[in-house]
Symmetry: C2
Subunit: 211 residues, 2 copies
DNA sequence: TCAAGCAAAATTGTCGACAGGCGACAATTT
DNA sequence: AAATTGTCGCCTGTCGACAATTTTGCTTGA
């Protein structure tokens, strides 16, 4: 719904999301708002406290680091599976197109949208890993990562370089070597993890406590 | 709530769970039942279809296998982390007590309860891994695994042996070798995966299609 | 000036009711 | 006899209202 858009950018972590206010704004009853709230809660974007309502989820850098470690576990295996199941050639055209799009967006300094495509690139791989559970977990992660990166002004110093780094993954997929593919993804996510978590720690230091 | 108990045993996968019926039975309005339903949905025990309501989640053996592969990814790293963070000695007494309990239950042929403690054993490790995200994913997995194993009559041929196999994990934790610990968990879950998924495939073959 | 207590406002949790959608069954047609 | 259409009933999705709880703001006293 529209609520996603709101959470993605406008609202700050910790902000209260009163269901009665949302209901008034959207001109609907509170019931559907509640439903949507639960949905966003299970997506990890909101938390609900008893008798207090919904709040935009706060996240500290340690938690974000945990998130990236989980992501690493999933995508590492997913990438290996794509190779093992022989799905590489099938998805490489899509992946290349997504890299192109990232590069375009990096030139226009459309960082938020670039990260969106970035996550889609990774989703394509996970989607074709043949493990549905991986995809379900990834989708939850991705929405949180998107929300977090939206908070950081300059996530990457060289967006174009980040975009082009994805070629290494495609190259590894092309070799057909399961281990090489796994390690390429390992490295790739490790770099992202360091960059994003690092920026986030800086943000924390500036504004005190959790964001 | 009570709903958990119902799902855990009584209801069969695919069964419809009409919120109005539940509401009547419990003597409350439909609103709180809906809430609980959403909760169980996000726990992966129910699925909801538009305008049709909730159904007990069906699962096929491939999906169960995916579940175990995900579990493997998580627990493997969690175990390594416990060693790396030096938390082993702190949790070993708890783990040993849980193994004792499993052995007791295996002698009384209380298989369902034994599996409950089994999952608690694994949860203890994940809980102390220092990665909150691992625990969140594990808890979701665990409820589904418990529900699945409840469907299988004889999950393990030698419950006592399964219980004692956990000693190998504790031993590996004691060595303080990260790799050894990871591999011990790898092996342990691999065995369980084979057994549970195997039994499940048999169950599928007997009763046709998905369970 | 500040703290504590109290009352009013706002917000959530729950309720019963109504409208719309879906599936099942019966009636009709081919 | 099989297939299609029409009808009925049950269930969900949504609504407005009330009760319980929390928050806010004001008053009162030191």
């Amino acid at each position: 719904m529209l609520t996603d858009a709101i959470v993605s950018g406008r609202l700050k972590p910790g902000d209260r999301v009163a269901e009665s206010v949302i209901a008034r704004d959207l001109g609907v009853s509170r019931a559907p708002v509640r439903e949507a709230g639960r949905l966003l809660e299970s997506a990890g974007l909101l938390v609900s406290k008893a008798n207090r309502g919904f709040f935009v989820r706060t996240i500290d850098s340690d938690d974000l680091d945990s998130l990236y470690e989980l992501r690493l576990c999933i995508e590492r295996e997913a990438t290996a599976r794509v190779v093992r199941e022989g799905r590489s050639s099938e998805i490489i055209p899509t992946l290349l197109a997504q890299i192109d799009e990232m590069i375009d967006l990096s030139q226009d300094s459309q960082l938020i949208y670039q990260i969106g495509i970035d996550l889609q690139f990774h989703r394509t791989i996970v989607e074709h890993s043949g493990n549905r559970r991986f995809l379900a977990v990834f989708d939850k992660l991705a929405s949180e990562i998107q929300a977090c990166t939206a908070l950081i002004e300059r996530v990457f110093d060289e967006p174009g370089k980040v975009a082009r780094n994805h070629y290494l993954i495609v190259d590894a997929l092309e070799t057909g070597d399961e281990t090489a593919a796994r390690e390429a993804m390992d490295y790739h996510i490790g770099v992202a993890r360091e960059a994003v978590v690092g920026h986030f720690r800086k943000l924390e230091a500036e504004s005190g406590a959790q964001v």
